[in-house]
Symmetry: C2
Subunit: 153 residues, 2 copies
Amino acid sequence: MAGSGSKVLVFSADHGGIDLKNKLVAHAGSLGHTVVDVTRTQGESVDYPDEVGAAVEYFLQRQADFLVLVCGSGVGVSIAANRHHKIRAVLADNPYTAALARAHNHANCLCLGQRLVGEDMACAVLDSFIANQPDLSERHKRRVHKLEEPCRT
Amino acid sequence: MAGSGSKVLVFSADHGGIDLKNKLVAHAGSLGHTVVDVTRTQGESVDYPDEVGAAVEYFLQRQADFLVLVCGSGVGVSIAANRHHKIRAVLADNPYTAALARAHNHANCLCLGQRLVGEDMACAVLDSFIANQPDLSERHKRRVHKLEEPCRT
């Protein structure tokens, strides 16, 4: 049974991130989190903006806690995810980046690159992302709020 | 005199990224690139979405080659930059991530975290970002094009 600290995590990947995504899904599940894997590709080549768009829609509709996206480098999914104004996505390859993203930027989406981060490090990054809390100081809240505003460009 | 491979680079930072930004500006200038530093803060606390918005407007108007943004972690500026549909920003702490971002995602914006990356590594990341070229294979062009489309969420 999931503990009181358990979260709802939505996972997705493109063809270049399936193996690491599977590892992270198993890791999060073993910790008692509720895991929803909305990955559509079985290995065939897909376009990361499409996959991210579908995952974001599900994540927002489900009102889940965190979205975790994996591609080869993590870069494509991080760009695509941050196109969505309700998503604050960090590309992280170490636990401290993940911690700062949660605390200062109230990140709700973690992006990882299968070609760049080993499986154990990726699990440690995810653990840090889940464990750290948003810093609700006024300056951080104000900046995060501005991320939701429409862009002029 | 700038060589044929010289680029036009626009730099900006919030209060947490000024020192590393200054190092990168000097480094890029020493290599013969045209450097425009549009940083507004002299050290006083500012909100990274505002600073990124102003820098993106200048970058697009100037039609410069690359935008380089620095904050404490690099996360805030990378989220804010990717809100803009003509910007493809990567948060990179190593040269290979920067190379993949240029090749596969046609990244035009490099984001760095002063608290996370040493000055020499940051220069190496910038060198890699500048040196690598977009891979113009059809699949990469198609995916990058999709990043410019409006989001449904």
